[in-house]
């Protein structure tokens, strides 16, 4: 299944892109996505243990099942304010 992951701040900068397409097997979870991103984008790897993922406007846990065509956001530690 094909997913799209939006990137922000240092994640965007390290990847050199504001979104990434990821292809994962059916039944994958957020945890699998995190692992796959680290494999395919070594520059992002140091950041990935520290990011959260969101679907729509909700943070999701690592066990969250993913579905084809999902849009996710990769949320590094926030620093607004």
């Amino acid at each position: 299944m094909k997913l799209n992951v939006k990137l922000f701040a240092a994640a965007r900068q390290l990847a050199g892109a504001d979104q990434l397409a990821v292809d994962l097997p059916e039944g994958s979870t957020v945890s699998d996505l995190r692992y796959r991103l680290a494999m395919e984008h070594p520059d992002l790897a140091p950041l990935l243990p520290h990011v959260l993922f969101a679907i729509g406007s909700e943070y999701v846990g690592d066990s969250k099942p993913l579905a084809d065509a999902m849009e996710l956001a990769c949320i590094p530690p926030v620093s607004g304010g």
Binding site: F8, A9, G81
Partner: protein
């Protein structure tokens, strides 16, 4: 009132929005760009946000604050893009009948905003380098300003 703006924050409008004959107290918090952090000089900041989620989270913050305190009016405005020295990047304003609730709610809102709302700050140091700020994280490397 929940807003993400790209220019200067209109504090007069915010105060007008929250002031009310039902309220005896207004607390406004402004977060402003500080020139020196641990002896290092900042030239400016840039803020980036995940727009729709940031608005949704700010609205959730207001809703949660309203369950905790008897808030009359609430306004949260965050600026994104380039913010110069001394300028406000965020404003939180709360009006309540009595002042202790306004102080508590204002402080809770800005404290919680800083932990959950998908907005990021980039320090543009006076030496020409820039650095995204990700609390709790060694920022991977220092990098020249993005174009």
């Amino acid at each position: 009132m929940i807003e993400l703006v790209t220019g200067p924050i209109d504090t007069q409008n915010i105060l007008a929005q929250v002031t009310s004959p039902e309220a005896g107290a207004v607390v406004l918090f402004l977060g402003t760009t500080r020139q020196f952090t641990s002896g290092r000089e900042t030239a400016s900041l840039d803020y980036e946000c995940y727009h729709d989620m940031a608005l949704a989270k700010l609205a959730e913050l207001e809703a949660e604050a309203r369950t905790k305190w008897p808030i009359v009016h609430c306004a949260i405005v965050h600026r994104t893009g380039h913010v110069g020295l001394g300028e406000a990047s965020v404003a939180v304003a709360v009006s309540t009948a009595h002042r202790s609730a306004a102080f508590e709610a204002g402080q809770w809102l800005i404290d919680t905003l800083k932990h959950v709302v998908p907005i990021w700050k980039k320090e543009n140091w006076s030496d020409g380098t820039s650095q995204w700020v990700h609390p709790g994280l060694e920022v991977p490397k220092e990098i020249r300003s993005e174009p």
